[in-house]
C-alpha cells in the first residue's frame, strides 16, 4: 500500500505516527483502518467490562428507629417497646410519637422537614415504577432509606429501599457545577457506572452517569433546559441531554469512541442482568452503531443521524418520526447525513434491530 501523494510504501512506522513519513500527509480514520488491515495488525480491542451483578440476595437492614435523644438504633424488642410508647431503654428518653399510630415512613419523613432549604440536584429515576421521572436530592446531607422513601412515594419501591442503608451516601457540590457522590459505608454499596464508590473523596458525576444504590438506579440530570430526553424502551432507561447551540453527538451504540460503554447501555445492562434473552436483545446493537447529532436551531432542534466510519458495517434501521401533529413521515426523510430541524415536542422513534429509542425534545 502506497501513500497516495508521494508513493512511499507505507509501513508500521507510518501507521505508528498516523502520518506518511515520506511527505507528512496526515491519515484520516479510513486510511488508518485500511493500513492496519493491509499490515495485518489487529485493531485494539479493549477488555470487556464486566458489569457487576449482585448475585447474592441483598443484606436487608433490620428494621430500626433511632432514639430522638441518644440516637441509639432501636431494634427488635427495644423497637417494639419504643413503638408502644415506652422510654428508650438506653437513655430513658420518652418517645415523642407515643400514642400516635407510628409508622416508619411517618417518623422518618418528619426528620426530613429541615431538608427543604438545602441545595438540591435533580436526578432521573431509572428503576421501578417512577422510571423516567425527575426527583430532587439534597446536597451535603446523609441520604439513605428514609430520605429516599420520602422522595419515592410509591409502594413499588419498598423492596428496593429495603436494600439501602439508613445513611447510604452523601452528595457533594464540587467545582464547575458538577455533583459528586460519597459512600457512607453502606452495606450494599454505592456504584457509579458499575464501579463501587469507596473512600472519602466524592466521585464526580455528570448527566448520563449511572448511580446505583444496589438495585435503585438514578442518573444526574442537569437543571437546565431545553433538553432532549432519550428513552430506551426495552429497559426503561432514560437520561437527559441539555441542548445548546453547539452540536452534540449522542452515541446509541454499545461503546463510545473513548472505548467506554455509554451510560445508558450500562444502566440497561443492569436492568436486564437477570434475563439473558433481554441481554441478547440489547447486545444486538453493534458496538459502533449509531450517532445522533443535536443542537438548538432557531425555534427547534437540528437533528441528524450518522454512523461512525470504520470497517465494521453498520446495520441501521431508522424507524419513523411521528410528530405531535399526527403527521407520519417515513424513514426516508431521516436518512443518515440528512439534517432536519424539528420543533420542540416532536417525538423521534429510532428502531435499531431489537431495540427502540424514543427521543423527545423539550423547550
Amino acid at each position: 500500500m502506497k501513500c497516495q501523494f508521494c508513493d512511499k510504501i507505507l509501513d508500521k512506522g507510518d501507521l505508528g505516527a498516523s502520518t506518511c513519513q515520506g511527505c507528512g500527509d496526515v491519515f484520516d480514520q479510513t486510511q488508518i483502518v485500511e493500513l492496519r488491515d493491509h499490515l495485518n495488525i489487529e485493531a485494539y480491542t479493549p477488555p470487556e467490562i464486566t458489569v457487576p451483578v449482585n448475585k447474592d440476595d441483598p443484606l436487608v437492614a433490620p428494621e430500626s428507629e433511632q432514639c430522638v435523644d441518644c440516637f441509639a438504633d432501636l431494634m427488635g424488642a427495644d423497637l417494639e417497646s419504643w413503638r408502644s410508647g415506652n422510654a428508650c431503654p438506653y437513655c430513658g428518653a420518652s418517645n415523642p410519637d407515643s400514642g400516635a399510630s407510628s409508622s416508619i415512613t411517618d417518623s422518618e419523613s418528619s426528620d426530613l422537614s429541615n431538608f427543604s432549604d438545602l441545595p438540591v440536584h435533580p436526578f432521573i429515576v431509572n428503576s421501578g415504577p417512577l422510571m423516567g421521572k425527575e426527583i430532587m436530592l439534597s446536597i451535603g446531607v446523609e441520604l439513605g432509606r428514609r430520605s429516599l422513601r420520602d422522595t419515592l412515594q410509591d409502594t413499588g419501591y419498598q423492596k428496593l429501599l429495603s436494600t439501602i442503608s439508613g445513611e447510604h451516601m452523601r452528595l457533594h457540590a464540587i467545582e464547575d457545577g458538577l455533583i459528586g457522590v460519597e459512600d457512607l459505608g453502606s452495606k450494599n454499596g454505592t456504584y457509579l457506572n458499575g464501579d463501587r464508590v469507596v473512600g472519602p473523596l466524592p466521585r464526580p458525576m455528570q448527566y448520563g452517569d449511572a448511580l446505583s444504590l444496589h438495585d435503585l438506579c438514578l442518573t444526574p440530570s442537569p437543571p437546565t433546559s431545553p433538553f432532549a430526553l432519550f428513552h430506551h424502551q426495552q429497559s426503561g432507561v432514560s437520561w437527559k441531554l441539555p441542548l445548546t447551540g453547539i452540536k452534540q453527538s449522542v452515541h446509541l451504540g454499545r461503546w463510545t469512541e473513548a472505548e467506554r460503554r455509554t451510560p445508558w447501555y450500562r444502566m440497561a445492562q443492569l436492568h436486564h442482568a437477570e434475563n439473558q434473552n433481554q441481554l441478547d436483545d440489547l447486545d444486538a446493537i453493534s458496538r459502533r452503531h449509531f450517532f445522533v447529532d443535536l443542537a438548538l436551531d432557531g425555534d427547534g432542534v437540528g437533528i441528524q443521524f450518522w454512523h461512525e466510519l470504520g470497517k465494521e458495517p453498520c446495520d441501521v434501521q431508522i424507524g419513523t418520526i411521528t410528530a405531535e401533529t399526527g403527521v407520519h413521515q417515513t424513514s426516508t426523510v431521516l436518512d443518515e447525513g440528512v439534517r432536519r430541524v424539528i420543533p420542540f415536542g416532536t417525538k423521534v422513534t429510532v428502531n435499531m434491530r431489537k431495540n427502540t429509542f424514543v427521543i423527545l425534545t423539550t423547550e
Partner: protein
C-alpha cells in the same frame, strides 16, 4: 500583566523509540481574559498616483475624515504617508483633534518608496510597546514591487500592515503578499462603501488588540527541525524552517477573546525512550513545551489517539495555504479531510464551512479577504470577524 495560556501538542503524544519521526504539531495561544486592550496607532499609507485623480482623491479625503470623525477614540493616534513615484509623510502622529491637508494626486506608483518611507517614519519614532500599531496600505493599481525583506521588517516596529485593493484593477495577489509579509490581512474594496467598511473593520480589529505584534521565542532541541510554521485559520506564513537553537518569530497582533493557532511540521532525527522535549515556546512570560514520549510498545503506538485539535489546525493550515496559492486540488483535499474530522471534532465542521466558502469566492480578492477575516475563539470554534 496576566500571562497568556500556551499549549503545544503533537498529532500523537507517543512515537516509536529509536526511529526518526515526521509529525504535525500545533501551538495555541489564548490571552488572559482580563487582559486590557491597547490604544491604537493607525498609519495610513495612501496611493496618490495620477490614477487616483478626481474620484480617488475624494475617496481618500472622505475616508480620512470618516476615520477622524467617527472611528478614532481619544486615546488613538493617526499618521499619514502618501506615495506616488516617491513618498512623504503627509501628516505626523496626531490625535482625533488633528487636521489633515487635502491630497493631491499625480505621478506613478512606487510601492518600494512607500515602504521605505514607512520604515523610515517608524524608525524615527520611539517604539511604544503599550500601543497597537496598524498600518493600512491603500492602492488602486499596479505598483512597482517593494522589497520583501523591507515589508517583512514592518512588524519589528510593533506594527502589522493590512492592504486594501481599491479598484477592480488592483492586483490582489501582490497586495495580499505584502499583507502576509507584514502579518496583516488583505481587504477587497472596489467601491467607496467597501473602503469605509474596510476602515471600520480595521478599527473593530484594532480596538481589540491585547498584544502588539508579539515575538514568539522558540527554542528547538538538538536533532529537531520545525518547518512550515503557519498561523491558522488565516493561513499566515510565519517561518519556513527553525533548526536547533533559539529563534524569535514575529506574530500578528493578538486579539482579545480569540485563540491564535500555529501549525508546524516536526522532524526528529531519532526519538529516544521516554519523554523527549522537542521545543519550548515562550510568549509574554508564559511557556509551553512540545513533548513526545518514545515507546517500543506497538499496541500503544498503533492505538494512541490522534489529537483532533492538532489535526484540525494542520488541515486548515494546508487548506488556507492551498487557497492562497490557487491550488484548488490541494484545498479540496485538505477540506475533505476536515469534513471527515468534523465527526469527532465539531470545531472542524464550522471551519470546513468557512474554508469551503473561501474556495467558492468568485475573485482572488474575496478569497483572501475571507481567509483574513477567519478567527478562532478561545475554544477553537471558527467564525468570520463581524466587521
Amino acid at each position: 500583566m496576566s500571562q497568556p495560556t500556551l499549549t503545544a501538542s503533537l498529532l500523537k503524544d507517543v512515537a516509536a523509540s529509536n526511529s526518526p519521526l515526521k509529525a504535525k504539531g500545533a501551538l495555541t495561544i489564548v490571552a488572559a481574559p482580563n487582559e486590557n486592550t491597547l490604544p491604537l496607532d493607525l498609519l495610513l499609507v495612501l496611493d496618490v498616483s495620477g490614477s487616483m485623480k478626481g474620484q480617488g482623491e475624494s475617496v481618500l479625503q472622505d475616508s480620512t475624515i470618516h476615520i477622524l470623525n467617527n472611528l478614532m477614540r481619544p486615546e488613538d493616534r493617526i499618521a499619514i504617508i502618501t506615495f506616488n513615484s516617491g513618498a512623504l509623510v503627509h501628516t505626523a502622529w496626531t490625535d482625533v483633534n488633528g487636521t489633515v491637508a487635502p491630497f493631491q494626486a499625480s505621478g506613478g506608483t512606487n510601492f518600494g518608496s512607500a515602504i521605505n518611507e514607512v520604515l523610515s517614519f517608524l524608525g524615527s519614532q520611539d517604539q511604544q510597546g503599550n500601543r497597537a500599531g496598524v498600518a493600512l496600505f491603500l492602492s488602486d493599481g499596479h505598483g512597482s514591487k517593494a522589497s520583501d525583506d523591507n515589508v517583512r521588517s514592518i512588524p519589528d516596529f510593533g506594527f502589522t500592515m493590512h492592504t486594501i485593493g481599491v479598484t477592480n484593477g488592483a492586483k490582489p495577489e501582490h497586495l495580499e503578499h505584502m499583507a502576509e509579509l507584514a502579518k496583516g490581512y488583505y481587504y477587497d474594496a472596489p467601491t467607496f462603501d467597501d473602503v469605509k467598511k474596510a476602515f471600520q473593520s480595521i478599527f473593530n480589529y484594532g480596538k481589540t488588540i491585547v498584544y502588539a505584534a508579539p515575538d514568539l521565542e522558540v527554542n528547538v532541541s538538538d536533532g529537531v527541525i520545525l518547518e512550515n510554521l503557519t498561523q491558522t485559520p488565516q493561513g499566515l506564513a510565519l517561518a519556513n524552517s527553525l533548526g536547533p537553537g533559539a529563534h524569535s518569530v514575529s506574530l500578528s497582533h493578538m486579539v482579545k477573546d480569540t485563540r491564535m493557532e500555529i501549525s508546524f511540521d516536526v522532524s526528529v532525527d531519532a526519538v529516544k525512550d521516554g519523554v523527549n522535549s522537542l521545543a519550548t515556546f515562550s510568549l509574554q512570560g508564559a511557556t509551553a513545551v512540545l513533548n513526545v514520549r518514545g515507546t517500543n510498545d506497538e499496541t500503544e503506538l498503533y492505538n494512541a489517539p490522534l489529537n483532533t485539535d492538532v489535526t484540525m489546525i494542520a488541515h486548515s493550515a494546508d487548506a488556507a495555504t492551498a487557497i492562497k496559492r490557487g491550488d484548488e486540488v490541494g484545498a479540496t483535499r485538505a477540506i475533505t479531510k476536515m469534513e471527515k474530522l468534523a465527526k469527532t471534532n465539531p470545531n472542524a465542521g464550522t471551519r470546513t464551512t468557512i474554508l469551503t466558502e473561501a474556495t467558492k469566492a468568485t475573485s482572488v480578492g474575496e478569497k483572501m479577504e475571507t481567509l483574513g477575516r477567519m478567527q478562532s475563539d478561545t475554544s477553537g470554534k471558527t467564525k468570520l470577524r463581524n466587521d
